[in-house]
């Protein structure tokens, strides 16, 4: 058996999703390599290969994680959900109180012994999505009820999002919106969803007020500044203007791999503005391909839902893919100046250890569901 056939046989589940992961990984490696020039100069005495190597390792580790995760039956994730959620609450509290400041935001904790910094919100996000999927799945019979269905779902959502929000508002809002969408798909009554959105707005307002008193823990000043910048300048702030110049340089087919000019002027070209660098190097063609890949992912997820007999599997897939596509679209929307600057990474493409590993884990879970759905529908 040839190696290609062997790999093909090993990779079970939706092959289209595997394809999306593969293409995103390739883009990730190319774009990160070409955009880490300044970072490499600053931290590694110009050794760009060091970043490439580290990134390659992370991507390879992530893909292996996807592979492992997709082998497991997705019901196991369901069983682990409450425990994971319970672990994540003290972790988040610890992060807000004692976490490491990176780029002026307290989003990280240093893992003891191994010494890796670790973004706790990534962990909590995954735990919450699994939990919400499980709860919605289990309570389908009486999902429209307030007390027995709506409350058990919404309380953890509010707690987790509330804990993430002080240091990382965008992630909290994205997670909140993801959960709202999950509830929407999971047949929660529409008035409750409206109520939830209202609640979100109220909590946001409260955080801004609290930020006046606890400027160290809550970055409300930054949020207000970014909002103001978005409102005030029609062309965007410095970063957005540089991103636009980058994209304009790319035109239809791009400057070619490694030829980005704007990577030198764009702050964090390897994470927040990686879409702009991709458009600069690969043109509109490359940008549309990236968007199409995420849409494909969501499309395949929808297809799984239509096939899935079990509500938890469907909810998990829809939750994870909403989370991924939402994050991706917000990241791209920042670069194309549709929303204020947020600091959300492009999943699976931006450089960043925890982000890629948890994205890969999400992919693995989606594939696990798809694998079992395919085996069931084959039997049917």
């Amino acid at each position: 058996m040839s190696i290609a056939k062997r790999i093909y046989a090993e990779l079970q589940g939706d092959r289209a999703i595997w394809g999306v992961i593969a293409v995103l990984s390739i883009f990730s490696i190319l774009a990160v390599y070409s955009s880490t020039g300044t970072l490499a100069y600053r931290e590694m005495a110009g050794d760009t290969e060091a970043f490439l190597f580290k990134h390659l390792l992370i991507v390879a580790g992530g893909l292996f994680l996807t592979y492992l995760a997709h082998l497991m039956h997705y019901k196991r994730y369901s069983r682990a959900a409450p425990v994971l959620l319970l672990i994540s609450i003290p972790l988040l509290v610890y992060t807000v109180a004692f976490g490491a400041d990176i780029n002026d935001a307290r989003r990280w904790i240093q893992l003891p012994i191994v010494g890796i910094t670790f973004q706790t919100s990534d962990f909590a996000k995954l735990a919450l999505i699994i939990y919400v999927a499980r709860t919605i799945g289990a309570k389908q019979e009486y999902i429209k009820d307030f007390q027995s269905a709506f409350l058990p779902i919404i309380v953890p959502v509010l707690i987790i999002c509330g804990l993430i929000a002080p240091a990382d508002l965008s992630t909290a809002i994205l997670l909140f919106v993801t959960c709202v969408f999950m509830m929407f798909v999971g047949r929660v009554a529409l008035p409750y969803i409206g109520l939830l959105l209202l609640l979100g707005v109220v909590v946001f307002a409260m955080l801004i007020i609290l930020g006046e008193f606890f400027p160290d823990a809550i970055r409300s000043e930054t949020w207000v500044n970014r909002m103001r910048e978005y409102m005030d300048s029609p062309d965007g702030g410095y970063q957005v203007q540089q991103a636009k110049i980058a994209m304009a340089n790319g035109e239809w087919f791009g400057l070619g791999p490694g030829n980005s000019i704007q990577r030198n002027y764009l702050p964090s070209p390897y994470s927040d503005f990686i879409y702009a660098i991709i458009v600069e190097e690969y043109g509109i063609f490359g940008g549309v391909l990236i968007i199409a890949l995420y849409v494909t992912l969501f499309f395949r997820a929808t297809r799984l839902v239509t096939k899935s007999p079990k509500a938890f599997g469907a909810m998990l897939v829809i939750g994870l893919s909403i989370s991924l596509i939402l994050q991706a679209f917000i990241n791209i929307a920042v670069s194309v100046h549709l929303v204020p600057v947020t600091g959300v990474t492009l999943p699976m493409v931006s450089m960043g250890g925890t982000s890629i590993l948890f994205t890969c884990l999400s992919f693995g879970m989606i594939l696990s569901v798809s694998k079992y759905i395919e085996s069931v529908s084959a039997e049917e």
Partner: protein, 717 residues
């Protein structure tokens, strides 16, 4: 509607109602920015010409051995004004006072009103980088920075101070060439060049915006990636400022007096090989200047100073003892029809002398004939090595290799290979080599050899940098290095030392008149002909190079020193007359400046002090006591802050105790000296009259009486 269908409807709504429209919006925006607005953004990219520009790191200092600065970077600032930085209300609020300050202190051609108009015009003209003043000191910058508006900083006030720096050598010409420089477009020179990497530090990078491409004006963009420059390390040299100054002055006098082409003088520490001074003076149109490092970079025929090496070879081989007789042929001999003559006034009367005498009077013929006898053709024909053995000895003395000094440009020594056609070896080569011709050495290389002789045969590698330091902390220490543990047998070296001492101390010696009274030194004179042509009908000479190389004090040598004066045109040309006195002046002054070189006069155990032998209960000014104790090398206890103190014996030292005198009543001044008593009483408004000499024994007003400006009489004894 069943559960499955409701889920499906809602998912389809999500897909087609939200995801697909959102993705289309993103694609549309991408195309809009890239294509519809593309040309505008591309133009913006070219206009807003940003670049990461190098920010030079602060260059490290070059320090003398005692920590004095030999070279340092003095910072200065160029000041600019960004007229658009301040918000309208802030600009207007500060405009008048700023105009006032500027008109008085910076824009001296403007009146206050003129300055105000100028500021307004700058703001209206969108000027973001107006030069205010160039090359101001840190203090001036601080002052101007304190002006209204400016004190709000770069972003709100528009005050831009760009730091630059200038390399300065606080001691001017002193060791200038050795300190060297690094300049764009020029070969790096000296220690600056050799340690450029360590001194230079790591340049940083800052994002800058080009505000005027035609003038290449760049302004830093704040709040964005800045790679902080890492300042350079300091280099601690072995240069001793006192010795350097002494050496440079002595050399400077000599090149002037003798109207020389160039001169160089080097002082090395015998035990370590540390270069303590290195001076080079060359003639330029602007006077004497350190233009080239001759000590390191110029290899010439050394002449007679090389005889030490020839003699050491013969002593090492045991061919001769100091008192063995050798022939000098009345100071004139022919080698293969070429004539060699002695310069010594003694030679023409002599046919044969001892080796010792031949060396003292620096007889060319004597040394050359001896070398010819032991290493020449006859010796070779008898089946021996001949000249090859002589060359081997020279190599044993490390004379064929550069010494590897840290700075660039050390010239290679040139020692011919025996009988090598490539080196044009001829019958006259060996005799002329033996007296320092047909070979080349730099002053530094020759000094290294003499230093090894002074160091009893142990050859130290000369070095000029003892440490790389950072903020006073040693980063890297350089230790003395041995080049050759023993260049020759102890006995041979000892005999050569004896000969070198004889050159100075024996009456016939070429350096006899240089002998010093306070200390003994040893050395050898050299007078080499330059641009000469050897011929059967005598030699034509294009000038001389006078040199003297030696060490002092002779008993336990501390410093070795070489002086080379090239082409003296006035006041003689012999090594003993031209270079010798420079050596003597350097040695004299070093000897005077360094008491540790003097023989110890009062060697013996330090006296122990006991309470009984200490003076006690004296009254006086505590500062006077302390300075007196310092003179006597007694460390007292106590540091009272009162005007008057009392001295009490305590253990093996003295305690200075406070004595507070009342302010409002007449104090007791009994026991005080007159000066202290006067200051105490007159400060309290009393009129003092005095009788007798010594300390106060009695006072006319009782202590404790209230003060009303009375007359008080002191009786001193």
């Amino acid at each position: 509607m069943d559960i499955k269908n409701e889920v499906l409807y809602r998912v389809y709504f999500l897909l087609f109602g939200i995801v697909v429209p959102a993705s289309l919006a993103l694609v549309y925006r991408t195309v809009e920015i890239t294509v519809f607005e593309g040309s505008r953004w591309r133009a913006e990219g070219e206009k807003r010409y940003l670049d990461y520009r190098t920010v030079e790191a602060d260059r490290g200092n070059i320090l003398a051995a005692d920590g004095n600065l030999l070279a340092t970077s003095i910072p200065y600032f160029d000041l600019y004004f960004d007229a658009k930085a301040a918000p309208d209300e802030v600009f207007e609020a500060n405009l008048d006072t700023l105009a006032h300050c500027l008109a008085y202190y910076v824009l001296e051609d403007y009146t206050v009103g003129g300055a105000r108009e100028y500021l307004v015009s700058l703001r209206e003209g969108n000027n973001r980088y107006v030069p205010l003043r160039q090359k101001v000191s840190y203090a001036e910058k601080k002052f101007i920075e304190s002006f209204p508006l400016f004190r709000m900083g770069r972003n709100r006030g528009g005050f831009i101070a760009e730091k630059r720096s200038e390399r300065k050598r606080p001691f001017g010409i002193l060791a200038q060439r050795t300190i060297g420089y690094v300049r764009e477009g020029a070969k790096p020179v000296g220690l600056e060049g050799a340690y450029d990497e360590a001194l230079g530090g790591q340049p940083g990078q800052q994002l800058m915006i080009c505000v005027d491409p035609s003038k290449d004006l760049w302004m830093p963009v704040d709040d964005l990636t800045v790679i902080e420059p890492e300042s350079g390390n300091d280099i601690k040299t072995t240069i001793d400022l006192d010795i350097q100054d002494i050496t440079e002055q002595a050399l400077s006098r000599a090149v002037n007096v003798h109207d020389a082409e160039w001169g160089t003088a080097l002082v090395m520490e015998v035990e370590t090989g540390a270069v303590r001074a290195i001076a080079n003076l060359g003639r330029t149109k602007q006077g004497w200047w350190e233009t080239y490092n001759h000590a390191v970079g110029t290899a010439t025929e050394p002449g007679s100073t090389f005889k030490a090496a020839s003699v050491l070879a013969m002593l090492e081989d045991g061919y001769l003892a100091l008192d063995d007789s050798i022939r000098v042929f009345e100071g004139r001999a022919e080698f293969y029809e070429e004539v060699m003559e002695d310069a010594s006034p003694y030679s023409y009367r002599l046919d044969s002398v001892s080796l010792r005498e031949a060396f003292e009077i620096s007889s060319n013929v004597g040394i050359a004939k001896a070398v010819e006898q032991f290493y020449g053709e006859k010796n070779r024909r008898n089946g021996n090595e001949g000249a090859a053995r002589f060359i081997r000895r020279l190599k044993q003395f490390n004379l064929h290799q550069p010494v590897g000094i840290e700075i660039e440009g050390e010239a290679n020594p040139y020692i011919k290979e025996a009988y090598s056609e490539e080196d044009y070896w001829s019958g006259t080569t060996l005799p002329w080599m033996s007296i320092g011709y047909e070979l080349e050495l730099t002053p530094l290389q020759l000094l290294t050899f003499y230093n090894a002789v002074a160091n009893n045969g142990k050859m130290m590698k000369p070095y000029m940098v003892s440490a790389v330091e950072r903020n006073g902390q040693v980063e890297e220490q350089f230790y003395p290095t041995v080049l050759n543990r023993r260049i020759a047998s102890k006995e041979a070296v000892r005999q050569l030392q004896e000969l070198l001492l004889a050159v100075v101390e024996n009456e016939q010696g070429t350096a006899h008149k240089l002998q010093a009274a306070e200390y003994r030194f040893a050395g050898k004179t050299g007078t080499a002909q330059v641009n000469y042509k050897k011929g059967p009908r005598g030699n034509s000479i294009g000038g001389h190079q006078a040199s003297f190389v030696g060490y002092f004090p002779a008993e336990s040598p501390k410093y070795s020193c070489i002086v080379v004066i090239n082409k003296p045109r006035r006041g003689g040309f012999y090594g003993g007359d031209v270079a010798g006195p420079v050596f003597r002046e350097i040695a004299d002054n070093i000897y005077r400046a360094k008491p540790q070189l003097h023989p110890v006069l009062n060697m013996g155990a330090e006296l122990a002090l006991d309470e009984g032998s200490l003076p006690g209960f004296s009254l006086g000014d505590p500062a006077d006591f302390r300075s007196l104790m310092e003179q006597l090398e007694i460390r007292p206890y106590g540091e009272p802050e009162t005007d008057v103190s009392v001295l009490r014996p305590k253990g093996d030292s003295l305690m200075i105790e406070p004595r507070t005198l009342p302010e409002d009543v007449v104090p007791s001044v009994v026991g005080l000296g007159l000066r202290d008593a006067l200051s105490v009483l007159e400060n309290r408004g009393l009129k003092v009259s005095v009788e007798g000499v010594g300390k106060v024994a009695r006072q006319s007003i009782k202590p404790g009486t209230s003060i009303r400006g009375q007359q008080i009489k002191l009786y001193l004894r």
